[in-house]
């Protein structure tokens, strides 16, 4: 049982939790909108990897780091305490988003991994065919002061994920974690895992302090390009970042932080001419929403017109490179439908936008956030919900893919 403290003397006692029950309304939406008629690919969703921390540590090579991590985890009293960047944050809004506190009550049966069962439950409810999953607390692993610990955790997690989850359920895919603070280790990670079951690309957690244009990364980008595998930047926040540290509420840090790091990486990527140096490398920007993109396009284009001498590698406007990139949709800002429609036009959403839920995190988006948009054609909806992702990742979706257009 979980006893949730409320705003007065009362508590709310919850004895059971079931994802399928929580998402009954999502399943109804899927039936009403006929999601069985076309593919839905969710390009950003999550699992809680630290619930499997004991398993993951079994895949850690370095015996000293492994022992340190095991010991710190035990003495810390909760998963990952003492060995991973903790990240102060209140994702569950003080218990208001209930699934955070009651997740541990959910029962699964059978022999398959718990994460597979839970992931398939929400996928089935939403009508999702394929989900690309990412870790949750490890999104802040790029802030770890010990570079070797990021590398050790990244490789252990990647090995565990491929062997225990991706190999066992073809509906679940991932872009694997790149330990970006160690460029050589990042290169080796692509070498080792490209082509493994369920691996559809590689992901950099954006909350970190390494410039993407450093020469040390060029051979990794070249290798990704050679394999035809996308490189994704998954945003996160760092409340300890100097500017973020001025803010006193989680809403402030989350609203700006999840865009801030990706803005910096995108600016460096474009101004340093990386799209010209790696023209076939597919870039995906994850979980920054969409409202930042019109800002980036206008801001960079305007300054480039006056200062093109500082970005001599560019052969077209920065915004034109942005429109060649891909973006996941969540958390899609929907409070001004006119602004959203303009955003879709500015980023060529019909071919570049990839639906994402971010489930089970607090600000998840259902497929209906795309399907119900009044300004999209049926073809555009189906492209964004699955067709674009199928093309970017080269997914085989059988007969369903034929129904995209």
């Amino acid at each position: 049982m979980v006893d949730i403290p409320l705003s007065d003397f009362r508590h709310m006692a919850i004895e059971e939790f079931d994802t399928t029950k929580l998402l009954e309304h999502a399943a109804r939406q899927a039936r009403e909108r006929g999601y069985d008629k076309f593919p839905i690919v969710d390009v950003d969703s999550h699992h809680y990897e630290l619930e499997s921390l004991g398993e993951i540590l079994q895949y850690m090579d370095d015996p000293v780091l492994q022992q340190l991590a095991m010991s710190a985890t035990q003495s810390g009293g909760s998963k990952g305490t003492g060995v991973l960047p903790s990240g102060i944050g209140y994702q569950d809004i003080g218990g208001r988003v209930l699934r955070y506190s009651v997740r541990k009550l959910e029962k699964v049966g059978g022999d398959e991994h718990r994460d597979i069962t839970l992931t398939r439950r929400w996928m089935d409810a939403m009508g999702t065919d394929i989900a690309v999953i990412f870790p949750s607390p490890m999104l802040q692993l790029g802030l770890h002061p010990q570079v070797e610990m990021e590398v050790a955790f990244a490789r252990a997690y990647n090995r565990w994920l491929v062997e225990r989850v991706l190999s066992a359920e073809p509906r679940i895919r991932s872009m694997l974690y790149l330990p970006f603070n160690d460029p050589a280790a990042s290169f080796r990670m692509v070498q080792e895992f490209a082509g493994k079951p369920g691996v559809v690309g590689f992901m950099v957690t954006a909350a970190r302090y390494r410039p993407v244009h450093h020469n040390d990364y060029m051979r990794t980008y070249a290798l990704l390009e050679e394999h035809g595998l996308p490189l994704a930047f998954h945003s996160a926040y760092d409340w300890n970042e100097q500017s973020m540290a001025m803010m006193n509420r989680f809403i402030s840090v989350h609203a700006l932080g999840f865009v801030f790091h990706n803005m910096i990486h995108m600016t460096n990527w474009i101004i340093n001419g990386l799209p010209e140096r790696f023209p076939k490398l597919k870039l995906i920007w994850i979980e920054s929403g969409l409202a930042w993109l019109p800002f980036m396009i206008q801001r960079l284009d305007n300054e480039y017109m006056m200062r093109s001498s500082e970005a001599p590698a560019l052969k077209k406007l920065p915004g034109d490179y942005i429109r060649d990139m891909h973006f996941t949709s969540q958390p899609m800002e929907v409070t001004d439908m006119g602004a959203l429609e303009t955003t879709f036009r500015m980023i060529k959403a019909e071919t570049q936008l990839l639906y994402s839920s971010d489930y089970p995190h607090w600000d998840f988006d259902l497929p209906s956030t795309i399907y119900d948009l009044p300004f999209l054609s049926e073809t555009a909806k189906r492209n964004i919900l699955g067709g674009n992702a199928a093309r970017v990742f080269g997914l085989e979706l059988g007969g369903k893919l034929a129904k995209v257009a």
Partner: protein, 121 residues
């Protein structure tokens, strides 16, 4: 309009709620400070089960007469129920969305007949 049985009065104490369903329509019926309130169990945001989340008093800033900030407290008067999907908060006594009161859940009348509570769907 159908009259749906909700619960016995003794089964719905203060701070509790029941969800009743009829012909695809779900209604959340709350008891708060001796009164009953009923709203459609469908969040205005993404269609979540708005009436199935926790009940929390409104959070308020505490300001001094010189407009300095002295912390926060829970409201003595205003109480919200919260959609468990994303945290949209609703005023329990009106069904208005606390963040934008132009938005509100559809409300329903609740009647008490003896010890039985009914909602008019």
């Amino acid at each position: 309009m159908p009259e749906l049985f909700v619960a016995k009065v003794s089964e719905l104490p203060d701070g509790e709620r029941r969800i009743v369903a009829h012909d695809g329509l779900e209604i959340g019926v709350f008891c708060w400070q001796g009164a009953f309130y009923a709203y459609q169990n469908l969040c205005v945001h993404q269609g979540g089960p708005a009436c199935e989340g926790i009940i929390m008093h409104k959070v308020e800033d505490v300001l001094g007469p010189d407009r300095t900030w002295h912390g926060q407290k829970f409201s003595d008067e205003e109480v919200h129920f919260v959609c468990p999907w994303h945290g949209y908060e609703y005023d329990l006594k009106t069904g208005e969305c606390a963040a934008d009161r132009r938005l509100r859940l559809k409300s329903f009348d609740v009647v008490r007949r003896g010890e039985d509570i009914y909602v008019i769907a």
